[in-house]
């Protein structure tokens, strides 16, 4: 088997094994309902994590994701409840704003040669600040169209439901996999992650790719915001705090190297599912406190980093022998 598939395989194996362990203890967990809920509950996180995967593949980082989700939610709530705009128009507005916001951050990172970490940190303050300016209250969204959207689902055998937002997440992952492996943009992202100087020498358009990556992350964060507002039926400027860290964790657990250049979008989906599974298990158990989630995810993160280190060391050793 090719070395580059090792982290992904390990992630999938761990997911299957831990799911089997969970089922062994609580047979009820083996139902399409649990799987449906897993997808629905983590839909916004998954969509944001796809954007994060591209950013990390290129060797960057985007800390603004959670704040952008909150901004999108508040913006939707204000526009729908006070502006009387149709939700579809509002969705388009949100996506346009967040994409432009991401593109602006990408442009600053590239043209002013500033570290992505700091630029997106400022972006995080800015987006959260804009959400505060729009409203500091939690605004419920009562538009009838929202109820219609929430009522849409695809029924699985066994009573499980893939809701609209769960389905959207799966579509976004399919789209992400396609972009990463079947388009020139995707190849450029991988090249950029391998090293900016090398990429430039190979003729990769570094400027447009960098702007494109952060614009894509902004777009997907906006979409995640829409999904989040559908999920909670409200807009609140303090919502989705720390989602960027969950997304980064999912990407790393999914087998993508934080140094960039190596990883898979599909791995991120499994990373999301593992995080969701830990939460579901703790809910099923009932006696464990919720803070175990954080500790377990931290341990898992550590285990994966070690695994990746080991793989890199082995592959280096191989090269030396050759």
């Amino acid at each position: 088997m090719k070395q580059k598939y090792l982290p992904l395989t390990a992630t999938i194996l761990i997911f299957v094994l831990s799911y089997a362990l969970c089922v062994g203890q609580y047979p009820n967990m083996l139902s399409t309902r649990v799987i449906g809920n897993l997808l629905t509950d983590n839909a916004f996180l998954g969509i944001a994590a796809v954007g994060m995967t591209f950013v990390i593949l290129s060797g960057g980082i985007d800390l603004s994701v959670g704040a952008v989700i909150a901004f999108a939610g508040v913006f939707l709530a204000v526009v729908l409840e006070q502006g009387g705009v149709h939700p579809l128009v509002a969705f388009a507005m949100v996506l346009a704003i967040t994409t432009a916001f991401g593109a602006l951050m990408g442009a600053i990172i590239h043209y002013l040669e500033m570290p992505a970490f700091i630029v997106t940190l400022a972006g995080m303050f800015l987006a959260r600040g804009m959400a505060f300016v729009l409203s500091i209250d939690s605004i419920p969204i009562k538009h009838p169209f929202y109820a219609t959207l929430k009522g849409l689902y695809y029924k699985l055998p066994g009573g499980g439901r893939i809701t609209l937002i769960g389905g959207v997440m799966l579509l976004v992952f399919a789209f992400g996999i396609l972009v990463a492996h079947r388009t020139r943009f995707g190849t450029n992202v991988y090249a950029l992650g391998g090293g900016t100087a090398t990429a430039k020498l190979m003729g990769v358009p570094v400027a447009s790719t960098t702007v494109g990556i952060y614009a894509l992350s902004g777009l997907l964060a906006g979409l995640a915001g829409i999904v989040f507002s559908l999920y909670t039926s409200a807009g609140y400027s303090l919502a989705a705090v720390g989602v960027e860290l969950d997304a980064i964790t999912a990407v790393v657990i999914g087998g993508t190297l934080l140094t960039g250049g190596s990883g898979f979008v599909a791995g991120t989906l499994v990373g999301i599912l593992i995080q969701g599974l830990i939460q579901t298990y703790i809910t099923f158990d009932g006696t464990l406190s919720s803070w175990w989630t954080k500790i377990l995810i931290g341990l898992l993160l550590f285990a994966f980093i070690l695994l990746q280190k080991g793989i890199i060391r082995i592959s280096r050793g191989d090269r030396q022998h050759v």
């Binding site: 500033m114 406190s289 803070w291 954080k294």
Partner: protein, 341 residues
């Protein structure tokens, strides 16, 4: 000696100008801003308040500067603050003496630093992920210690650390002043500072030329953990309780920002602890200034973001090279001096 003072002031000049401009701007909007008075043998006033409120970020920034100088980053300091606050509160409420509590808490901070340093120096993991582990898990550990509740305490000694005063100054200010001076002396009066910069510039080259890279790397993260422990004690003593969820939340970002505003590059190498402390005070001055000047608090984050972007754009290499022809000779001399190093 005068030459040293001059280069030192030259290094701190941009931060001092920004701070002066911010203080001036606030005092225009809020006339009583510069007033200082002595009550009950202690200084009171908005300026002192800035120094006092900024204590946790200043402390974190001191440790963060050294870590960033090694080309690292420590994302876990906020979580370590929460852990140490929880440890201090649970020890003091279970009847341990103040000294025992303080030493145990500092030891926990040092342990967290050793863990981070071990991951970075021995396992050779990228610092941003290595410290992400403790950042994610740390808050869980803190909650495990406090058992999910906010642990309150009323031990006069521990509370004194957060709200007492020594001489004319509030205790937190005294602590960060003394600690900052100690660390600055330690790295600048010995070769340690230079060796740390060497690691930041090129870790492999430093190792090859005989620098004990792993030891120094671990030491840098230990210092950061120690700073976080002190900041955690101050934060807990300030509210007379340990809040595992909110203590030190997002302060790692403020600390990193303070270091960057202080002009230390995230790419490692040359660093200045004094400049980072100034950076932290600039951030706190912005926060306090926005509150005092009566802007609606909703605008806080936007104004903060705008000021930070402005400072960072001024520092960006591309911007500097585009405007070199506008620079006055003295300022133009600075980059060359930097290149010479």
């Amino acid at each position: 000696m005068t030459a040293t003072v001059k280069t030192y002031l030259g290094r701190l000049l941009p931060q001092l100008i920004v701070l002066a401009a911010i203080v001036f701007a606030i005092s225009m909007v809020f006339p009583g801003f510069l007033n200082l008075q002595i009550q009950n043998g202690r200084l009171y006033g908005s300026l002192i308040d800035i120094l006092n409120r900024g204590a946790p970020v200043v402390l974190l920034a001191i440790g963060m500067t050294v870590v960033i100088a090694t080309k690292g980053i420590d994302l876990s300091v906020g979580a370590v603050m929460a852990i140490c606050g929880a440890v201090a509160a649970s020890l003091i409420t279970s009847g341990h003496s103040l000294l025992e509590t303080l030493f145990a808490t500092l030891a926990v901070g040092i342990l967290c630093g050793i863990w981070n340093g071990f991951l970075v120096a021995v396992l050779d993991i990228q610092p941003i992920i290595a410290t992400l582990v403790l950042m994610v898990a740390g808050r869980g550990i803190a909650q495990l210690i406090t058992e999910g509740a906010i642990l309150t305490f009323n031990d006069a000694g521990l509370i004194f650390v957060g709200s007492g005063s020594f001489g004319w100054l509030p205790m937190p200010v005294v602590i960060w002043l003394v600690f900052g001076v100690l660390v600055a002396l330690l790295v600048r009066q010995t070769a340690l500072g230079m060796l740390i910069e060497a690691i930041g510039v090129n870790r492999q080259a430093s190792t090859l030329s005989g620098v004990l890279t792993p030891v120094l790397l671990v030491a840098a993260y230990v210092l950061s953990g120690l700073c976080a422990a002190i900041a955690g004690i101050i934060a807990a003593a300030d509210i007379k309780g340990a809040d595992a969820n909110n203590a030190g939340l997002w302060l790692e970002l403020d600390a990193i920002l303070a270091v960057v505003v202080g002009g230390t590059s995230l790419l490692g190498g040359r660093f200045s602890i004094a400049a980072s402390v100034l950076g932290a005070i600039i951030i706190q001055a912005i926060n306090t200034g926005i509150l005092l000047s009566g802007f609606p608090p909703e605008f806080n984050l936007i104004i903060k973001a705008a000021i930070i972007v402005f400072i960072l754009v001024l520092q960006s290499p591309r911007f500097r090279s585009a405007f070199t022809f506008l620079q006055i000779p003295r300022a133009a001399g600075k980059p060359t001096e930097r290149e010479a190093k």
